[in-house]
């Protein structure tokens, strides 16, 4: 039954399976195992990034399309909720309206981008999406009346989700049962559903055609698949999932601004996650997100320690400074592309394969 749940896309590696189970369990039980607001924030961010990265993997890993517009849809989802909550009010219908409008906008935009650009060479497409995403980010920060400009929008969520809403007077097993907890589990459940849905998509006949197109689009076309249609559908699906991820993030942060969702740094993060985690696996997005977000939040503390130790050595102290953690991530990224093209997941799977022959 578990196999059917993940659409028969099994981890195929003991280590990977263990890792995945551990991750899911840890995320499910974070409020109880890891006390404190920071831990909960990190966990929520991990969950959102898992959905964001997995949807990007659908596009990059399975269909072979490089698109820099992914964060644009992420932002649309977040802004949809933010604007609805700000203008209409912190009610469930408002949220629903915001989310639906965001999905509609994403649908149209991704369709237009897909149909317009997917007919051109991949390089063209990548560059065009970069330009469009950049323009969108600028637009968001300039339409301050609508989007709150550079400062973004802070808004309230429905009462059921507000941190102040207490459901139980006493904390249960170390976690206070309040609106925050409810929000967390809402995000968690939705994310699980979305990831399972992605697994279903990539393991369906549709998903197989995508992979065929990625391998050799000429041949796929020759066999009779209209590659433009499939690519556009993949592009739209990926955009919609990213939009929902944005909705989730906005619900959690109760804030959204251009830097929260639209910045190129986030696009890079997603790219890093998918490549380091393992392209074309969906599980890669899970593992990668955990690695990246944990590194972002906790590795920097480590680096601070190291920096303190080499404080007086001129260049080294700069290199180890926690602000430069992107440098190390960049190196890891480049090494991954060369030496671990299958990512962490691929590595784990190949270890698993060698084990039985011993």
């Amino acid at each position: 039954m578990l196999a059917r749940l993940v659409s028969h896309d099994l981890p195929k590696s003991r280590w990977l399976a263990i890792a995945l189970v551990a991750i899911v369990a840890a995320l499910a039980l974070t409020p109880f195992i890891f006390p404190g607001t920071k831990a909960l924030n990190v966990a929520a961010k991990v969950i959102v990034f898992i959905v964001l990265a997995a949807s990007f993997d659908l596009l990059l890993g399975y269909t072979g399309i490089v698109s820099f517009a992914h964060t644009m849809f992420f932002g649309i989802g977040a802004y949809g909720v933010a604007i609805a909550a700000t203008r209409i009010g912190a009610t469930w219908p408002a949220l629903a309206l915001g989310a639906i409008c965001a999905l509609a906008v994403s649908l149209v935009l991704s369709l237009v981008i897909g149909l317009f650009s997917l007919r051109v060479r991949a390089i063209f497409f990548a560059m065009i999406t970069l330009a469009v995403a950049s323009a969108f980010a600028t637009l968001a920060s300039q339409l301050s009346d609508f989007t709150g400009g550079e400062d973004g929008l802070t808004f309230k969520v429905p009462e059921a989700l507000q941190p102040g809403t207490e459901y139980a007077a006493e904390p249960f097993l170390g976690a206070s049962i309040d609106g925050r907890l409810v929000t967390y589990y809402l995000i968690f459940v939705v994310a699980v559903v979305l990831v399972l849905a992605l697994l279903r998509i990539v393991n369906s006949p549709f998903g197989r055609v995508l992979q065929a197109i990625r391998e050799n689009d000429f041949r796929a076309e020759a066999i009779g698949y209209r590659t433009v249609v499939y690519r556009t559908l993949a592009s739209v699906a990926s955009a919609l999932f990213a939009t929902v991820a944005g909705v989730l993030l906005a619900l959690w942060l109760r804030y959204n601004g251009p830097d929260t969702t639209l910045s190129f740094e986030i696009m890079l993060d997603v790219l890093l996650i998918v490549v380091i985690g393992g392209m074309g696996t969906i599980y890669g997005a899970v593992v990668g997100s955990v690695l990246l977000v944990l590194a972002q939040n906790y590795l920097q503390d480590l680096m601070k320690l190291a920096a303190a130790a080499v404080q007086n050595v001129p260049v080294v102290s700069q290199i180890v400074s926690p602000d430069r953690w992107l440098l190390w991530l960049g190196i890891l990224f480049v090494l991954s592309v060369y030496y671990f093209p299958a990512g962490v997941v691929g590595r784990l799977r190949s270890i698993g394969k060698r084990a039985p022959s011993r």
């Binding site: 490089v66 390089i123 469009v132 323009a135 600028t138 790219l271 440098l327 060369y338």
Partner: protein
């Protein structure tokens, strides 16, 4: 055997129905048309002139920065998303040079000031070119022919490079004030033109002339132009074009360094994100001009420069969109850019 010059065939005068090279001037007309069209909107002629010159200056600088990128892509089918790194290098090195030569920079003599600028420019080109060589060897060469990996790896290289820039120069922005005698503007007719911008334009024109001369009048230029069209055939004619590529990559990086230096001087401040800022602009210019075409790159850059300045004056909020809008409009007219390179 004596090699006498084969004269342009004597029959040329007789059969003057044979045109030489039919140059497509429509994009030039477009540039002029846009400039003229903006005039009534801007209103005042002096403002229009200032904006136009500013636009052309910006276009020239962007062209220099982008020329390397389009050549590299056209010649070797490598899309270097890390190109912005060399631009940033050039800009930051300029700040160091200006600071180091502070004495000459603050002297009121134009000669000394131009000397500072010259040193900055040459240093920027040398550094960027050298790093470009290393970049090609280490980052790009292992992934020839694999577009997806190229995009990923060059982005990675750019990230690493820009972080290293922050290590060396610090993460804050650094002002790049013009040298003493080059501050302020001069009046050309009714338009006020900043002196530094003028210097940038002059340098840009020199580079442009050199580039065009090299491409059109030397055998290496011939090889590059041919290689952009049909790499295989050039190899079949006996040329080791891969060696040429390394040279072009380094030259392209050097040009990017120069472009960065000029950009910094144009903006009068250098921020760490300078690479990313200019990158998007470069891509837009490349798409408008046609990937691989130097001339297209020039006119694309001029168009972007002009449009950005006009729109920046008329409707500042739309400035960023103006480039994208221009790109879309051009693609609708010519889906492969202004001067698409015909491959085979």
């Amino acid at each position: 055997m004596t090699t006498t010059t084969p004269a342009a065939p004597a029959s040329a005068s007789a059969t003057d129905a044979v045109p030489r090279r039919a140059f497509d001037i429509r994009p030039i007309v477009l540039v002029v048309a846009i400039a003229l069209a903006a005039w009534p909107f801007v209103g005042s002629s002096s403002t229009w002139l200032t904006l136009t010159i500013a636009g052309l200056a910006m276009g020239m600088i962007v062209f220099i920065a982008a020329s390397g990128l389009t050549l590299v892509f056209g010649l070797m089918d490598v899309l270097n998303f890390g190109h912005s790194l060399f631009i940033a290098l050039g800009a930051f090195l300029a700040t160091t040079v200006f600071a180091a030569m502070g004495g000459a920079a603050s002297a009121p003599s134009i000669g000394a000031n131009l000397g500072v600028v010259a040193v900055a420019v040459l240093a920027a080109m040398a550094l960027a070119g050298t790093i470009g060589l290393g970049f090609e060897r280490v980052i790009v060469r292992p992934v020839y022919g694999q577009h997806l990996k190229q995009i990923l790896v060059t982005i990675g290289g750019a990230i690493i490079g820009e972080e290293l820039i922050k290590v060396v120069w610090g993460p804050a922005q650094i002002p790049l004030p013009p040298p003493e005698a080059l501050r302020g503007s001069i009046l050309i007719g009714e338009a006020s033109v900043e002196k530094l911008r003028l210097v940038a334009v002059v340098i840009g024109l020199v580079v442009l002339a050199t580039l065009l001369w090299t491409l059109n009048r030397t055998k290496i230029g011939l090889l590059i132009r041919a290689g952009v069209q049909d790499r295989e055939m050039v190899e079949s004619l006996g040329y080791r074009i891969r060696r040429l590529f390394v040279g072009v990559f380094a030259a392209g990086s050097a040009l990017a360094g120069l472009g960065g230096c000029l950009w910094g001087m144009n903006q009068q401040i250098v921020i760490p994100q300078i690479g990313g800022q200019v990158n998007v602009l470069l891509f837009i210019v490349l798409i408008i001009g046609g990937l691989g075409s130097t001339v297209g790159c020039l006119f694309g850059a001029l168009l972007v420069g002009l449009v950005t300045n006009y729109v920046g004056f008329l409707a500042p909020k739309l400035a960023m969109f103006s480039s994208i809008g221009l790109m879309v409009a051009i693609l609708l007219w010519r889906p492969r850019g202004l001067y698409p390179v015909v491959n085979r």
